[in-house]
Amino acid sequence: MRYRFVGIEAEISGVARMDRYGQEVELEDGMEAEAAAALLLPEEQFLEIFEAVDVEPYQMVACHDDAPAEFQSAKHQASIAVAEFKQKTKGGR
């Protein structure tokens, strides 16, 4: 299953390491809890949220403060979505 990263930096040890906002990651089925704990959103959901926003220039979190309002709004939605995804899968906690 394909995911996109919506955090600063995260790792699923031995499986994937993420350090770019919007980074694409492919995980085996059954790893939803790990994905959620590592702030990965299902790609379909991510693309829906960022449909009208170009994420490419904002892969580095340090430049998010200068991002346009539509990116900030989408990022806010993504943060809510990943928290809900984590809650849904329990993310191990």
């Binding site: 955090g7 995260a10 790792e11 806010h76």
Partner: protein
């Protein structure tokens, strides 16, 4: 024979729903990859008492004692790291919940706020090492008695510590009694792909507001909370293990140093310090969304300042105790991750 690198250590933590019961499903621990936390140092130690025999014998030689009380202690030093997504709990959420006494309040997509309560949630803390043939440890019924935040320019850490009901080990699991097993039927295997999120917030970025004035002159900052939680071990017929948590009045203290200056605001704060007039303080650590920590301290009564001439500019040192705003409030400290 295998040995293990001292740099290879993996910690996992879960909140217990009942004191001393490791989260499990029909005896199998539910610990998962997402319960991992990145650690700097993790210590879990079982203590077993030896009761000396008092009865006289025909010689002056000591005879073997009897196994007495069982208990444990633990401490975890970790980076102060938010998850990286605002409104999503950090990897150390369970420790913070157990420290503050209740779950953080989530504002969706914005923040997770921890406020104090007079409860004592307990933890199961897994202390794994590689290879798996090394002794593996699990502290159960662990409560947070102390929490210490240390902020420097390039390092922000938080250390939790306290007592626990007991620390069990993989190799001796079969010989443990039911209380020590904590509801488990076997010692848990380490989840194979621990998952971490976030990076440490650094003291390079942030701000300090002391008595309503903003400062960019702090040199050091330490915030210490003594939750005064303990596990009673003086109860008759309660078995060898300590009973459920008890707590007395907690104490939140802060010490900081800052460049001395002749501003009206700092002079006014010094007057308040000497008069023991309370004032509020807040410290913001970090600058990246999802990893900005704000410590709020209320009603701080500070010590009289002292002065340090070891730096090129004079430095003044303070310490203070934070206090609740009323007899019914529990608002002396808040911790918010945005």
């Amino acid at each position: 024979m295998a040995t293990a690198s001292s740099q290879s250590q993996i910690g996992y933590v879960q909140l217990e729903s009942a004191y001393g019961t490791v989260p499990n499903g029909t005896g199998t621990a539910t610990v998962a990859n997402g319960d991992a936390f990145r650690l700097i140092k993790l210590v879990t130690k079982a203590d077993t008492g030896l009761i000396a025999r008092q009865a006289k014998t025909t010689t002056l030689s000591q005879t073997a004692g009897v196994l007495g009380k069982k208990s444990g202690t633990w401490s975890a030093l970790v980076e102060l790291a938010g998850s990286g997504a605002a409104g999503t709990a950090p990897d150390i959420d369970a420790f913070l919940q157990a420290g503050f006494g209740k779950a953080g309040s989530v504002s969706a997509g914005v923040s997770v706020s921890y406020a104090l309560d007079d409860l004592s949630p307990s933890l199961a803390i897994y202390n794994f090492r590689d290879p798996s043939t090394m002794e593996q440890l699990l502290a159960l019924g662990a409560v947070v008695d102390s929490m210490r935040l240390s902020i420097t320019q390039e390092s922000s850490t938080i250390e939790f510590s306290g007592p626990c009901r007991y620390v069990i080990d993989h190799d001796g699991f079969a010989s443990l009694d039911a209380t020590a097993k904590g509801g488990l039927t076997s010692f848990p295997a380490r989840p194979s792909s621990p998952t971490y999120a976030g990076v440490p917030a650094l003291g390079l970025y942030g701000s300090a507001t002391l008595d309503s004035a903003a400062y960019t002159t702090l040199r050091s900052l330490n915030i210490n909370v003594e939750f005064a939680r303990s596990l009673p071990s003086d109860i008759l017929f309660n078995g060898a293990y300590p009973g459920p948590p008890q707590q007395v009045t907690r104490k939140v203290t802060v010490d900081w140093s800052m460049t001395d200056e002749d501003t009206a605001a700092l002079k006014a704060m010094k007057v308040k310090a000497r008069a023991k007039t309370g004032f509020a303080m807040s410290f913001v650590i970090g600058a990246t969304a999802g990893n900005i920590w704000t410590v709020g301290l209320a009603g701080c009564q500070a010590t009289s300042p002292d002065y340090d001439d070891s730096q090129p500019s004079w430095v003044t040192n303070f310490s203070a105790v934070a206090n609740a705003s009323s007899a019914t409030a529990k608002d002396e400290m808040t911790l918010v991750c945005t």
